[in-house]
């Protein structure tokens, strides 16, 4: 065979580098091991220099990027482990299993820290629902998440779902998992202690998912159907047993290190644990429990069979691990030991089939910094002249259309399929700006949100990246939490294209700026490149997973109106911005115009004030203004409270469509009793935050006016459109 490395996704120059590192040509097994660990998915070849832009440190950060997940301190001896990861390519080929194993993989990352997984969120992107295949993928993904996550007993508490042509050939599935761990029990994936045993626990190894990481690092093509064998099949029952067994193991002093086995299976987990500890590892593939006969060392090393973990155990104390695994009915086997030579050695009985410096696999992949240049079509779309667009004749009709459009309609059809209450910790369920999970034995709670806006990032990547962070932070602020850290999942097209590299670099730059301004360090995440099919790239979609901390459960605030007669206050300022909005998309079928400006300094002040007045007990409800603008926001506030509506008048002399549907940033709607509202307005003045009284909570009607333009409708009539919009689009 000529240049077999090419079929495994390696470049000629990379093959040469491997030969240099080894001082010889690699064996077949070694070549496969390099191919997966040097894949873009595992090695971050195109992203590493750019990722350095992120701030990664802060007083709360206990473990940052490079670990299985980020870990932050929330006080009272409790730490939070959290991470988000993509499973994009698999869902295009096999939606149900692709999504299910996406959940399984991220859960094991959290487990590896010794943390109890307590919440899941999903950030999903699909093609339009008018498209048969997109509907099929959407339904399959939601039931895959439901089927796997529900069985584990981890509540799925939030996320987002968005539909757009840009994702037709390349849907996205990003799953975030959050875990809790006592501060002094945090575990790391280290193969420490020469002579200690390397044990494999969980599922036997089969032929599934071989070269999954390589698959994730390629563009999808016409023949993607034939990649079905690259998608793994999940067994959530086994994962549930694995969770319980691993949590018992983390309490056992016999265990030195735990590592999940995700992409590149045994190869990556052994190489990473050895590289982190500065040790070597020697294993024998004949000792690996197998699911099928006749597997070669190459297949065993590259299998991505799910529900497996690697455990490093003190020598002589393997029986303690066996006892726990027996109790939970899962298999375990000693497959090797920790050595002192820094080499990852693989034997098949007496024969050595691979012998590679562990760090050559994990830290010696080449880094690429390809040229970056903005796509001309994105510039054209941004600079499109929107001044000639006709003004709506009936603003109420526009609101009706927006509320029933799949992107703005209620997502109940999705989250009803998720068990969002198991573990009896869910204080705010899906449907609010952020989910809130209480922390047992404390008054504290975690606020969790994901956010990304692909259209913004396409039209103005740097600002779009910053807005993703700012909005995710706003989402946790309005429920009463302080934003403390983020994880992210960076979904982009082919980085070898200058236009995509530009989007990537600029998005990261914008996110980094917002993270610095908001004081939310990046604790880790994942990069997913090559989201391109047949030359069509997705919108750049950097998903932010935000972690907020509620200091006291009494601070938890909901979006819904509470009491007629309450005043409605807008924190922040309306503008005439209408570019890049859902309004333009739904009404004019445009992905165009300038992205709303983001003044980070103003954003921080608005958020701080909002949190201050919530903590002071002045606020009855709070809701972030985002997609669809102020009219949609106010309608949502009404939907959350049966029987209530509002009368709002917007005094600015600006185009009504901008006031109603524009997506100006840094705005929050709060309601309060008249006395408290006066205090809020007074505090806002003193803090230099723009704030205005725009109306009051009423019963039954939504009534908005901007000059002569009005929106008038019964809330119940709008609610039906909003509640049923997604189901109608599906049928």
């Amino acid at each position: 065979m000529k240049a077999p490395w090419r079929d495994m996704g390696l470049r000629d120059s990379e093959y040469e580098r491997i030969c240099e590192l080894l001082g010889r040509e690699p064996t077949w097994t070694e070549l496969g091991m390099f191919a997966v660990l040097w894949s873009e998915h595992c090695a971050y070849k195109h992203s590493r220099p750019v990722l350095k832009l992120f701030p990664t440190e802060g007083p709360r950060v206990l473990l940052g990027p490079g670990e299985n997940a980020g870990v932050v301190d929330i006080g009272e001896k409790v730490a939070v482990a959290f991470r988000i990861e993509s499973h994009n390519h698999p869902i295009f080929v096999e939606p149900y299993q692709g999504a299910a194993t996406g959940v399984g993989g991220i859960v094991r990352d959290i487990l590896a820290l010794g943390a109890r997984p307590v919440a899941l969120l999903d950030s999903l992107r699909f093609g339009p629902l008018s498209d048969d295949r997109s509907r099929y993928i959407f339904g399959g993904v939601v039931s895959g998440i439901s089927g796997y996550g529900n069985c584990l007993g981890i509540p799925t508490v939030g996320g987002e779902t968005f539909f757009h042509e840009a994702y037709r050939q390349n849907p996205l599935c990003n799953v975030m998992c959050v875990g809790l761990v006592p501060r002094d029990r945090i575990r790391r994936g280290v193969a420490a202690g020469v002579g200690n045993s390397v044990m494999l626990i969980g599922a036997p190894t089969g032929r599934d998912g071989i070269h999954g990481a390589t698959f994730a690092s390629e563009e999808l093509g016409e023949d993607s159907e034939s990649r079905r064998p690259s998608v793994q099949v999940g067994n959530p029952f086994l994962e549930k047993l694995l969770i319980e067994a691993c949590l018992e193991l983390t309490e056992a002093d016999a265990v030195v290190g735990i590592q999940d086995m995700g992409a590149a299976g045994i190869t990556s987990s052994c190489a990473e644990t050895a590289a982190r500890a500065g040790t070597g590892v020697e294993i024998d593939v004949e000792r690996v429990p197998l699911r099928e006969r006749g597997m070669t060392p190459y297949e065993i090393m590259l299998s991505e069979s799910q529900e497996r973990m690697l455990v490093i155990v003190k020598r002589g104390r393997e029986d303690e691990v066996r006892r726990i695994c027996d109790k939970w009915g899962i298999a375990c086997a000693v497959i090797g030991r920790v050595t002192d030579d820094g080499i990852f050695r693989v034997r098949e009985g007496d024969q050595v089939v691979a012998e590679v410096p562990a760090r050559a696999l994990t830290a010696s992949a080449p880094v690429y910094e390809p040229p970056a240049e903005e796509m001309p079509e994105a510039i054209r779309a941004r600079e499109a002249d929107l001044s000639g667009l006709p003004r709506p004749e009936d603003y109420t009709a526009v609101l009706r259309r927006l509320l029933s459009s799949p992107n703005l309609a209620a997502k109940r059809w999705v989250w009803r399929q998720y068990d969002f209450q198991v573990r009896t910790s869910t204080v705010l369920a899906p449907g609010a700006d952020a989910a809130v999970i209480r922390v047992p034995s404390t008054r504290k709670a975690l606020a969790l949100a994901t956010d990304a806006n692909g259209r913004y990032c396409y039209l103005r990547p740097r600002r779009g990246g910053a807005i993703a962070v700012a909005e995710a932070a706003r989402n946790v602020v309005v429920v009463g939490a302080e934003p403390i850290a983020i994880t992210n999942c960076l979904n982009f097209g082919n980085p070898e294209r200058p236009g995509v590299m530009f989007q990537f670099r600029e998005c990261v730059r914008g996110m980094a700026e917002a993270c610095r301004a908001l004081g939310t360090p990046v604790t880790g995440g994942n990069v997913s490149f090559y989201n391109e099919t047949a030359g069509q790239n997705i919108f750049p979609t950097p998903t932010v997973g935000m972690l907020g901390l509620v200091e006291d459960l009494d601070h938890v605030t909901r979006p819904g109106f509470v009491s007629p007669g309450d005043w409605v206050i807008l924190l922040g300022r309306n503008t005439e911005e209408i570019g890049a909005s859902e309004y333009l998309k739904v009404v004019h079928a445009l992905d165009a115009g300038e992205v709303p400006a983001l003044d980070l300094e103003l954003e921080v002040r608005v958020q701080r004030l909002c949190l201050e007045v919530i903590r002071a007990g002045l606020v009855r409800s709070a809701h972030d203004v985002s997609d669809g603008g102020l009219a949609v926001t106010l309608a949502e506030c009404a939907f959350a409270s049966p029987g209530l509506g509002c009368r709002v008048s917007l005094g600015e002399e600006l185009p009504p469509e901008a006031l109603f549907f524009g997506e100006a940033q840094s705005r929050i709607v709060v309601t309060a009793s008249p006395e408290a509202a006066r205090e809020i307005l007074d505090l806002a003045r003193r803090r230099g935050v723009p704030a205005s009284l725009i109306g009051e909570v009423t019963e039954g009607e939504l009534s908005l006016s901007a000059g002569d333009a009005v929106i008038e409708a019964r809330v119940e009539e709008l609610r039906e459109l909003w509640e049923e919009g997604l189901s109608w689009a599906l049928s």
Partner: protein
């Protein structure tokens, strides 16, 4: 009172039941492993929700055959209180301790959300409630579509074994209030003696206002009151 919370491989509401009983209701509670064969120390045995053995065969089918179920059978035969919630209900059906069977939800999807239940009769678990009372509790299941053939349903009704039916917020039994297609809106049934109850909704999830509701306390409180020998209110 002393409660046993049975843990099968794949149970996932065991911790929630334990917390509701021990931390909220202030009772003694133990986790009991599925290999346990003696339950005589307990006043009440709870089979919690989850996906025992992954529910890969039929929901509850394998757990229904596990060693602890033989102990549950003996315990129930002596009049001990048994409460099966969600997967626990499915297990009681599979073990033959309650009549009927579960099918997949009519929607063919997992359904999570609040439902209203009308109390249809007195049992130890509805001891402090009145017939016609309406409770709001969450469901979370994919196989909660209760089925029994027409003769069986007549028999159930004749022996007053239907304990809860899905209803609207005002207690009316309507098709729209039925979340899963269950025959006759059945949400919970008991054995003839009334000491074994299976129900799809999750009372353990609504025992604190901060979690969205407290109606679940009324069920556990009823069982405690009954066990203490207190009069019905």
């Amino acid at each position: 009172m002393r409660f046993a919370v049975v843990v099968f491989p794949g149970s996932n509401c065991d911790v929630d039941c334990y917390r509701a009983l021990a931390d909220v209701m202030g009772q003694e509670a133990d986790y009991v492993w599925h290999r346990e064969t003696d339950l005589s120390r307990y006043d009440c045995v709870v089979l919690p929700g989850g996906f025992s053995y992954g529910d890969y065969l039929r929901a509850g089918a394998i757990a229904g055959q596990s060693p602890v179920m033989e102990a549950v059978r003996k315990f129930a035969a002596r009049g001990g209180l048994v409460l099966g919630i969600c997967n626990g209900f499915q297990i009681l059906l599979e073990a033959g301790l309650l009549p009927g069977a579960m099918r997949r939800n009519e929607s063919l999807r997992f359904e999570c959300g609040d439902v209203y239940l009308r109390v249809e009769r007195e049992t130890p678990f509805t001891h402090s409630l009145g017939e016609g009372d309406v409770l709001r509790l969450p469901i979370a299941h994919a196989e909660g579509n209760y089925f029994i053939e027409p003769e069986g349903l007549e028999d159930l009704e004749a022996h007053d074994q239907i304990v809860f039916r899905y209803c609207d917020s005002r207690g009316r039994i309507t098709p729209a209030a039925n979340p899963n297609g269950s025959v006759a809106n059945v949400a919970g049934v008991c054995n003839r003696r009334g000491n074994v109850l299976g129900m799809m909704p999750h009372p353990e999830r609504y025992v604190e206002a901060v979690l969205g509701g407290e109606d679940g306390r009324l069920l556990f409180g009823s069982a405690i009151s009954f066990l203490r020998g207190e009069e019905r209110p």
